[in-house]
Amino acid sequence: MYEENDDILGEVTSSEYKYGFVTDIESDDAPKGLNEDIIRFISAKKKEPGWLLEWRLKAYRHWLTMEEPTWPNVQYPAINYQDVIYYSAPKQKIAPNSLDEIDPELRRTFEKLGISLQEQKRLTGVAVDAVIDSVSIATTFKEELAELGIIFCSMSEAVQEHPELVRKYIGSVVPPTDNYFSALNSAVFTDGSFCFIPAGVRCPMELSTYFRINAANTGQFERTLIVAEAGAYVSYLEGCTAPMRDENQLHAAVVEIVAMEKAEVKYSTVQNWYPGDKDGHGGIYNFVTKRGICQGDYSKISWTQVETGSAITWKYPSVILKGDYSNGEFYSVAVTNNMQQADTGTKMIHLGKHTRSRIVSKGISAGKSNNSYRGLVQVGRNATNARNFSQCDSLLLGDKCGAHTFPYIEVKNNTAVVEHEATTSKIGEDQIFYCNQRGMDTETAVALIINGFAKEVMNQLPMEFAVEAQKLLAISLEGSVG
């Protein structure tokens, strides 16, 4: 680790958002706006079965009756939902039958982002589903995984190839009516990843989805569904970037995870959507619903997130602990700089007996940003011997930013043990001077202190992503001190 740390610090030289380029590729767009015809258009584009169109329309009709929530501790001008393009697909000359036939321009785009779509170039075992705007353009290692009975493909493909599985699980954890943005997503979702691990199979490689927004005025509404049957294990990674644009773009995703008896799902996110410029122009609104259910006894779901991007981040990856002895974890580092806002945390819903949950949240605020942790720990009437431990630490850089903690605890069973610890600290001038006196400049010192602060969460990430994430932390905070 020491080696890597040094490399990272050495590389922290540019404060610009590195992924802000635009790929010049023709796209096939839906007209702007949202109505039933647009939804029919999307469904037809994807050649969906009738039940799914009906499901979308029902969600849309419900959405029309809902109001956009105002309770998060974030501020933004009203979103004009009629001013968004809900479907945008890069035009490919031919439908690729294999990875070799992908449009070279798209291939180059992902290569620029550090994602190789050529299987032989992958150093370690990571299978990738690459999603650009509204469609998945490639999924690697599909055949190898299929030999083990693992299904890893785009959601669109899953709808065609495995409709019974999709129908069974879609909306089973996050119902379309759950909230404003999940209803919107259910109506207009365009792609995402589908992942099914059959009973007793331990997925031999990391599965990952890389989301890229490219087209202007477009929203990305992907939907990811992960099902781990009894005794299965999978580690799943998600990464995201977008070009630098002056207008705000909406990203409203839904992720659902189902873990059956003794199954384990580990879901890691490194979120680096374009955060907007330092005066708060542009950037992604990242309004996401992520939830997993520990359906079976002794199952485990673990969320790890490193949130550095987006103008506004608003999400609460949650776990419903239904099975007895099931286990939920949430590890989060949320960084806000300049004018960024984040209201993020988790919900741990204890229903089964002897269920356990652990929450470690590290918020880092700099510039004029606002960073809130909001978490709910709920222990149901039957959840005998439920245990929760929550730790929420905030670190402030400078004196114009804000850190807030909103913990909610609801306990209906008196055998429960719920612990909550919270700290707020500032990077001290003393700490920086101490590092300076040992020959480190202030940027290096801050990167070192930040990485130390976030270490407990970073340690949860798979190795290759931990390195990326550490770099990202340092880069996100460039120029925030001194």
């Binding site: 001038e429 040992r438 020959g439 480190m440 070192l448």
Partner: protein, 254 residues
């Protein structure tokens, strides 16, 4: 090595250093003694470049360069080391990682390649012996939960790793029991050479029994009022700082 000329400094409106003159040559150990509030720690901080202190006059040359023009990190990279009186804690950053970053940042400044993991570990193992510091301590978060003695030993260990030209020890003896004091002093003595120099800031003579200085200076009310050899420290110990005050009074009246 270091030449301080008529140095004036203070914090906000308060004047603390009122004309310090001091020259330290390679191979020398100088001790600065003085009662509380005389400006000892201020002098150490000003030399290291702590921003909260304002230099209002005078000059400091360090190896021929204008020290006061340099940033704190460049002073360190040029070979100035301050062993802090109160070392800070940095949660989540191991001492090993911290010192490796420090060593390599300094090497980068000097146009040297960073030390690879093997070379670094070898150097570390060797220097650990100097202050009898344990590997397990170095794996822990920097200074977090360290005892007073462990913190000070860690300072000297870092000094050994960075091999400074001039090391300033700011009340390194405070809070140390006699065994820890001996270990720390022993480490310092092994690092003494004809090419480096030490400025030992202390309230008590005790440390100077182990780190024997070539010169002793008494700082009082922001000025060096008396300089001598190690015997001066003994005299102070015996007579207390009042003897200096009285002596000054007599001189002023005369």
């Amino acid at each position: 090595m270091l030449k301080i000329t008529d140095l004036h400094a203070g914090i906000e409106e308060k004047k603390i250093l009122k004309g310090i003159n001091l020259e330290i040559k390679a191979g020398e150990v100088h001790a600065i003694m003085g009662p509380n509030g005389s400006g000892k720690s201020t002098l150490a901080s000003v030399l290291a470049g702590r921003e909260s202190f304002e230099v209002t006059g005078g000059s400091v040359a360090f190896q021929g360069k204008d020290l006061l023009e340099m940033s704190p990190e460049d002073r360190a990279r040029e070979g100035m080391f301050l062993a802090f009186q109160y070392p800070v804690e940095i949660p989540g950053v191991s001492t090993t990682n911290f010192i490796k970053t420090a060593v390599n940042e300094t090497r980068k400044y000097r146009g040297q390649e960073p030390l690879d993991a093997v070379a670094f570990l070898k150097l570390m193992k060797e220097r650990m012996k100097l202050v009898q510091i344990d590997q397990s301590l170095l794996s822990r978060s920097l200074n977090e939960g360290f005892s007073g003695g462990e913190k000070k030993r860690n300072e000297i260990f870092q000094m050994a790793m960075l091999e400074p030209k001039l090391a300033i020890l700011d009340e390194t003896d405070s809070g140390l029991d006699i065994d820890a004091l001996r270990i720390v002093a022993n480490g310092v003595n092994q690092l003494r050479s004809k090419d480096n120099a030490f400025l030992v800031v202390t309230h008590y003579q005790r440390l100077l029994e182990y780190i024997v200085p070539d010169f002793v200076h008494v700082l009082y009310n922001g000025r060096i009022v008396k300089s001598g050899t190690k015997e001066l420290a003994l005299e102070l110990e015996e007579k207390g700082y009042d003897f200096i005050k009285n002596e000054l009074l007599v001189t002023e009246q005369a």
